[in-house]
Symmetry: C2
């Protein structure tokens, strides 16, 4: 089971703005919002399977943490936010979906001073397919350290700017490194597998929920390590994969035009299977 | 003559969105815009005096440069953009104003892929007063290097996040440094004056238009230098000032609770006078 984005124009949908449901066509906010004026906002993104939000408390932990770090007040407590999400899910009736919760700096008269945040919840259909994992991702590395990395801000300046570079590199996505130390992809954490270790960066990254779930798995003959590793270690790894809410554990077969391992990704597949079992457990809880 | 912001709610105003004039109350854009989804956009900011945009070709140079660097296409050429601004000026009739031109990543169906940018032009009244310069600014330094610093992006994550820190420091604004090397304020360039030099950072800063105009002035007994300088050099400077489109050359009397120089700011005042003469020349050209 792999999940990927589908175009969100499939059907008439509702979006929640400050806990009011509005049709997507009318889901507009004033250009005085600090997201537009100053790129100021945080967000989080989780999925629903059969209308059940998966690992929701983990996502809430991170969302409220991000808000606090950016001095943004969330107008709803966890129970109210959960109800707002359920209201949207019920209205839209898209069983398998992505839920994006955005909290912006709010409408600012002077375009600079923070006032009252705006909360926007957007649901988009997700397509579940088994086939995608057969072809691993092809990444291209780029020297960039995200600012305020442990907070899920809306800052994707480099990722969007470099979409052209990714296309021109015939790659699927970016892999950020900080002067040779591998960090993460714009929307995913990153792991390598050696003979007996499954390694992921510890510092200056976003603490992904899927990353956390993977680090809690039991993989026979392998230990998990959270530490810096270099691009050279990556090029010589047995396997590499990304982790994200939509892609779960997804193989990476090529980085900077170098093939990684033998392309069989057997450990990545085992990790993904165990992750899917965890997700199913949460779905049925 | 010093200029400062006033609340923009003074009167019924129009905003230009994709070259259509709409009332401020209805100036909304879809939450699918990449500024809201991914903090993706650039902008520029210039002033009008007696309805004349000042140094407009310099601002256009920077705006189109920023757009190019961020792979954003401007739908209007320079003549058309100038006409769009004049249309807004004529409609609003605010002789002394700030003009903000924002170019966002546009409406994106998947919330990630760049499509067709949105162009938003906002005019806000500016208040001109002579009095403000008597009290110099009080700044607090902060170790932060802006990403893509030579491009005027909408990324003000640190500046907005640190508004609380600035208040708690009883300061007026931030001064960014990169591990001790002074850079700039969030919305202004920064200069120090020694016995015979007027120094401003050269690297990893936004190339301000007011900064450029100042560097072209003739100040007897002083030479201009563009180079790195440290916080310690700043603390021991004779004078310090910021430069911006709204504040011109504006004295800084205190940084990190240390008084800078004797507080008379005589060279800064000379610089500001010469700058104002340049502005008047452009206004009457």
């Amino acid at each position: 089971m792999y999940i990927s984005f589908r175009d969100q124009n499939l059907k008439c949908m509702y979006i929640s703005i400050n806990n009011e449901l509005v049709l997507k066509e009318g889901a507009n906010i004033s250009v005085s919002d600090l997201s537009i004026q100053r790129g100021y906002g945080i967000f989080d993104f989780l999925k629903t399977l059969n209308n059940k939000p998966i690992f929701i408390q983990d996502y809430f932990d991170r969302f409220y943490h991000s808000a606090k770090e950016m001095n943004l007040e969330v107008n709803l407590d966890r129970t109210q936010l959960y109800e707002a999400i359920l209201k949207l899910i019920t209205k839209n009736n898209i069983p398998n979906s992505g839920i994006k919760i955005i909290l912006t700096g709010g409408f600012s008269d002077d375009g600079y001073t923070m006032v009252k945040p705006n909360l926007i919840i957007i649901q988009t259909p997700l397509n579940i397919s088994e086939a995608l994992a057969e072809k691993g991702l092809n990444l291209v590395s780029y020297n960039h350290q995200r600012q305020i990395p442990h907070v899920k801000t809306i800052d994707y300046l480099q990722a969007i700017r470099l979409q052209k570079f990714v296309r021109e590199s015939n790659a699927d996505d970016l892999l950020y490194h900080n002067n040779g130390k591998v960090r993460e992809c714009p929307r995913a954490n990153f792991f390598i597998i050696t003979d007996n270790e499954i390694i992921t960066a510890k510092n200056e990254i976003l603490n992904g929920i899927t990353r956390k779930k993977i680090l809690g798995l039991n993989i026979p003959n392998y230990t998990f390590a959270e530490r810096d590793f270099t691009l050279d270690e990556l090029y010589n790894a047995k396997e590499a994969f990304i982790s994200s809410s939509t892609k779960n554990a997804f193989p990476v077969n090529q980085v900077d035009e170098k093939l990684i391992g033998d392309g069989k990704n057997s450990i990545t597949k085992l990790i993904n299977d165990k992750l899917l079992a965890l997700i199913e457990l949460d779905q049925n809880s």
